[in-house]
């Protein structure tokens, strides 16, 4: 189990361009494949991570590791997800200038960056599935009857969160607390 956890999070660490949010679809996939926990439970912890200190990626790795194999699971998963960055940076720091100016590296990154935008957008769908969408979500059903797919009360919280962030410039901690209160009162 520990070896599997390490390998899974090491793999996630290698492909986690674009930071924590872009890592989410990778983790979702591995959780589903390995059957580590219900997707909903993982979504909860990521949602809560908006309020706890530290990068979401570490929070998520620690949580999945702990749930699978307690303290050592958490340790192994966290080390696994951090190690690729660690090794890559030690190598790159020795060829810093070359790396910084390489046109080929720039070209590859110019393609990876938009891909991570797509990855982060896909994470929105995962969260929507366990909150604002009724039941499961399938693209064909969604295209047929878009409004049937939404659960109105969570959709209202979703909309208010966007308004709170864009119009009133509230931070993620305040927005998460407000959404939790609204959920407890009205859902």
């Amino acid at each position: 189990m520990l070896a599997t956890l390490f390998w899974v999070f090491f793999k996630i660490g290698i492909f986690s361009f674009g930071g924590g949010y872009a890592m989410l679809p990778l983790i979702f996939k591995e959780i589903l494949v390995l059957g580590l926990m219900p997707v909903k439970e993982f979504s909860d912890i990521v949602a809560l991570s908006q309020m706890t200190p530290g990068p979401i990626a570490v929070n998520a790795a620690t949580y999945v590791g702990y749930k699978s194999a307690l303290f050592w699971g958490a340790t192994v998963a966290t080390v696994g997800v951090t190690l690729p960055s660690f090794l890559i940076i030690l190598i790159i720091d020795s060829i810093f200038t070359k790396f910084k100016e390489s046109m080929a590296v720039k070209a590859i990154l110019s393609g990876i960056r938009p891909a991570t935008v797509g990855m982060i957008a896909s994470a929105v769908i995962f969260f929507a599935k366990t909150s604002i969408f009724t039941g499961g979500f399938s693209v064909t059903e969604f295209l047929k009857e878009p409004w049937q797919a939404f659960d109105p009360a969570p959709l209202a919280i979703f909309t208010l969160t966007i308004i709170g962030a864009v119009r009133f410039k509230l931070g993620p901690i305040a927005l998460t607390i407000l959404a939790g209160i609204l959920g407890g009162l009205f859902l």
Binding site: D44, A107, R113, G183
Partner: protein, 155 residues
Amino acid sequence: MLPLIQREVVDKRDWVTEVEILDIFAISQSVPGVIAINSAIFIGNRLLGTSGAVAATLGVVLPAFLSIIIVITILTGLRGNVIVEKVFTGIRAAAAALILLAALKLGKTAMQGKIGYLIAVIAFGMIVIFNIHAMWAVIFGGATGLAVWLINKGR
């Protein structure tokens, strides 16, 4: 988190210069992993080599690690409570909104030209519609970026 790092290591402690830190942030965004952790690894390595990198990584990871273990301990006692489940549905809806805003914000800077939009849409479709492992979206994006560059260079 980046302004915090900058204040601490440049202004307060003089570990790296103003110019160095900007380079470090830029490259930290270009390699896999979280920018804050990557920057810490860089700075630790610059100061003390590998052992510095290890110390900096532990320092930046530990608060997140410990806070999640505390959260798990508290949550386990609350599971199954009807009100708590409702609160969490609300929080998940907020997370969906916050992540959507993050995607839009990143999209503004990350997508340059039609090819950028195309890559983003294909990456999204690969994961959401075809259920493909997201690492293939990264590989696809990198390969497309490289191919476009090689084609333009060949002209």
